[in-house]
Symmetry: C2
Subunit: 174 residues, 2 copies
């Protein structure tokens, strides 16, 4: 995870990973049959510690789902290495042919669907302005969180991610 | 630009760049003394076609500056290769030690400053809700635009960048 976070998937070499864990490259490839396999496992491990995946699999309730986003962002400020891994891999994975491309496409589709439902639920509960388009707000919320991570990693003292997300969530109120 | 957009700075090799322009690696290095130098020139070329840089250097007027963002986003939908270059390089450049790290830190500082002034101007002109914190809105606007690019590149048919940005700008009204 550290090597891919620092150097990306393309820039991170099997040799450096093997060196860091004290294995030969052959030893590493005994556990992970290829670099792509290693990437898939790293993403799975990252997701396991991330609420976003839980979101995408559960049935959201509007207010809880939106409050959960703010909580996720607060949590992310404590795990900069994982945030960097995500930013670096998502930046690479926009390229067609990147081994994580399809998984990122599907991840964002699931997130937009999940948050779109959450916003619509929030509207029915009277927590969210009924004039807003749930699909637009879902896309914006995800974009806001992704973009904040880039600014925060580059300049942590200047960018307060939770404050910005909470301010945006508050602006959705009726 | 195409090689760095597709493979990133770290993943893009001088050999591939030389091949694509029909030069030997020595020939390429005659024009650009190093891969880092080539990256600096690619970023400069990219910036030259980007209004963001002009923003950061001009004196913004609130309404024009914010309208200019929406226009920039509409323009970006016509240049996916440049957007991919930006997403891939910014994703890599969060790593300390990346040759573009400092330039991205400074770029975002300048953008936040510029847009913070623009939002405050908009508030004085009565276009923007005076209760909003200009620094928070500036950070959010940049984050929204950056995050949208990731989703749009991954799924262009599902993500309408201008609509989302215009909806956000509209929500800032008094």
């Amino acid at each position: 995870m550290a090597v891919f976070a620092e150097s990306g998937y393309r820039g991170g070499s099997l040799k450096e990973i093997a060196d860091r864990v004290g294995l030969s490259q052959a030893g590493l490839l005994h556990h992970f049959s290829s670099k792509e396999h290693l990437l898939a496992e790293v993403i799975a491990l990252r997701d396991a510690s991330d609420q976003a995946r839980r979101f995408a699999e559960s049935t959201p309730s509007g207010r809880d789902a939106l409050a959960g986003l703010a909580e996720q962002v607060r949590h992310n400020t404590t795990v900069p290495g994982l945030v960097q891994l995500y930013v670096t891999l998502s930046g690479e994975a926009v390229a067609e042919g990147h081994p994580a491309h399809t998984s990122f496409v599907e991840r964002y589709r699931a997130l937009r669907r999940y948050l779109g439902v959450a916003v619509a639920e929030g509207q029915r509960a009277g927590d969210v302005d009924p004039a807003l388009d749930p699909a637009v707000i879902a896309t914006a919320l995800i974009a806001l969180m992704d973009g904040l991570q880039i600014q925060w990693l580059l300049d942590p003292a200047a960018v307060d991610m939770p404050t910005v997300v909470e301010s945006y969530l508050k602006s959705l109120g009726p």
